[in-house]
């Protein structure tokens, strides 16, 4: 009756990892390619079969990221679970507030700055921060904001909001801050 080989079970255990919530694309069909501001003078390698979101990538704007104003929408910083880039339900009201603010302030752009807590390797955290910023961007596009006005960047774990090694500090550092870029005068 004894199972002769438990190795497959052990291997399977390692594979039982919660898959990322996959809510992509549901609202966004038809968004791809409608933005003429492709980077690098229009030369890019977007592929229609790309597994990405279908939203054109965020170009680099004609501004210094360090000049983004994070005060105006400071209340609307989006927080994430450890090692996750999915936007949880309790964060969505803030994104609605961001969307409302944006629509009341035409001409401004938003700078979505993704961050990770300090745990883990710096490179993985840099990619994680980027995916958090992209997830927020995608969500805002779904609320009707123009992709061309939504810039992203990732600071990985190199720009913590709070110092310290507590779970409270970590939770405050796993975030996307919403910066405002005012139009050039």
């Amino acid at each position: 009756m004894n199972n002769k080989c438990r190795l497959p079970l052990l291997i399977a255990l390692t594979l039982v990892l919660a898959a990322c919530g996959d809510e992509k694309n549901a609202n966004y069909t038809g968004m791809g390619g409608d933005n003429g501001a492709l980077p690098n003078g229009g030369v890019d390698t977007l592929n229609p079969n790309d597994a990405g979101s279908g939203i054109p990538p965020s170009p680099r704007g004609n501004f210094n990221p360090n000049d983004a104003d994070y005060q105006t929408l400071a209340e609307d910083t989006i927080y994430f679970d450890f090692d996750k880039s999915t936007i949880s339900g309790d964060q969505r009201a803030k994104l609605q507030a961001v969307s409302d603010w944006f629509k009341a302030n035409p001409g401004d752009s938003l700078f979505l700055a993704g961050h990770a807590d300090k745990r883990g390797t710096p490179e993985y955290n840099r990619a994680l921060g980027e995916r958090r910023a992209l997830a927020v961007r995608e969500y805002l596009v779904g609320l009707g904001l123009p992709a061309a006005s939504l810039y992203t960047n990732s600071y990985g774990s190199d720009r913590p909001a709070v110092d310290g090694d507590t779970e409270e500090a970590y939770a405050k550092n796993r975030r996307v801050e919403i910066g405002v870029i005012a139009p050039k005068p």
């Binding site: 390692t14 990538p57 883990g120 993985y124 840099r126 990619a127």
Partner: protein, 411 residues
């Protein structure tokens, strides 16, 4: 039942036949879930710790000349840090290393005391301490058959969490000096194999871009600045290409490009994020971390650009969080960072047997192989350490900088 099945393979692994010189210290293999074993090895801190060595070849070191005293100390220290040689006084030993050290270099000689014959008689001309390191490496190569790494270059980042600069140092920690003064985030340095060039990530422009530094001239070129993140460069073995992470096509994916910035080739195409590519020694494969299946795992792909995933090879390490792989120069092992019980440790994946082992127990991140494919430089809590993956002995690399991380070693 499971233990019966797993133990024999672990035991056979720990008795690697490839090890030329055996080191004996207490090892207690402990079974860990899903095939991981932990070796509880009393971590060694600080200086002056004697390792139980019974069969290490002993080399007497006695160098004369104007700089003889310093050179003797450097060579002895290097031989000890090789983990494969026991440096002893000049009167005893299986070999005797003598020489003459001056400003112009070290004239070094190694004699096999059993046969009385010269093993080599050679002049080393590296600048300053480098000549003595070169002599030590020649001794290590002759006595053990494995290349010494004392003359390798070490690069790393150091500073506060918000501002990090790039540093270069000798492998024993001496001559540590910053080579950037940008006041921004510098990250993920990678030295090319001969140590002449350094690629890294900098936020100098406000965004993460990849730069190439020619170490002889000091010139710096920005080679990847696509929209999104440009980060985590890794030199191909021949130095002509770098692999890196770009998010220009939607989410972080692995690409390769030539070091002059051209011929971009996409390697991965997933919904997850891919980071930290590292080349196989033959250059035809890349190992990297991907969280496409939930949490980060290690994968190997061809480096030629098959993005349909058909050639993906998932390395089952037995742990759900595996990042920052580094492929050893001999191709046999892949070191990586893993998360166990909330702590970060270093694991090594054996390519032939496809099994993984934890090789630290007191924490560690960002491992980088030295040229002997036996030692790893890594960081732990802002400090750099040197780990002998055979004896599991970990020694500090003391550098005059704090907040150190992401070490890389020339080969």
């Amino acid at each position: 039942m499971a233990a019966r099945l797993i133990f024999p393979s672990l035991l056979s692994l720990t008795a690697k036949p490839t090890v030329i010189v055996k080191l004996f210290s207490i090892r207690l293999p402990v079974l860990f879930f899903a095939g991981f074993s932990i070796f509880l090895n009393p971590q060694v801190h600080g200086q002056g710790v004697t390792v139980e060595v019974s069969t290490l070849p002993r080399v007497g070191v006695s160098i004369n000349g104007p700089l003889g005293g310093g050179a003797t100390e450097i060579v002895s220290n290097d031989l000890k840090r090789s983990g494969m040689i026991s440096p002893v006084g000049s009167g005893s030993g299986d070999y005797l290393a003598t020489g003459d050290a001056s400003e112009s270099g070290v004239a070094g000689r190694l004699v096999n005391k059993k046969t009385g014959e010269d093993v080599f008689n050679q002049t080393f001309t590296g600048k300053g301490r480098l000549a003595a390191h070169e002599f030590a490496d020649a001794i290590t190569q002759s006595v053990t058959g494995l290349p010494g790494f004392a003359s390798s270059k070490l690069a790393f980042v150091a500073g506060s969490v918000r501002t990090q600069e790039l540093y270069l140092a000798d492998m024993d920690g001496y001559n540590a000096r910053p080579i950037t003064h940008d006041g921004t985030i510098s990250a993920s340095p990678d030295l090319n194999h001969d140590g002449t060039q350094l690629a890294y990530t900098s936020y100098k422009s406000g965004y993460p871009d990849v730069y190439l530094i020619d170490l002889a001239s000091g010139s710096r070129t920005r080679i990847a600045f696509f929209p999104g993140i440009n980060t985590g460069p890794s030199f191909s073995p021949d130095g002509s290409r770098i692999a890196l992470t770009l998010s220009k096509d939607g989410n972080p994916e692995i690409y390769t490009m030539s070091t002059d910035g051209g011929s971009l080739t996409r390697i991965t195409r997933t919904r997850g994020g891919e980071t930290s590519p590292s080349w196989s020694p033959t250059g035809d494969q890349l190992v990297y971390s991907s969280d496409d299946r939930g949490s980060p795992q290690l994968f190997i792909s061809s480096s030629s650009g098959t993005t349909d995933g058909s050639d993906w090879d998932h390395l089952v390490t037995g742990n759900s969080y595996c990042t920052k792989p580094d492929w050893s120069p001999d191709g046999k092992s892949i070191a990586f960072t893993t998360r166990i019980g909330g702590q970060f440790q270093i694991g090594v994946f054996d390519v032939a047997s496809r099994t993984a082992q934890l090789i630290t127990s007191n924490g560690g991140e960002d491992p980088a192989w030295t040229r002997d494919s036996r030692h790893l430089v890594y960081s732990n809590d802002g400090r750099l350490r040197l780990l002998d993956t055979v004896s599991r002995e970990s020694l500090p690399i003391e550098v005059s900088a704090s907040g150190c991380g992401e070490p890389t070693v020339s080969r």
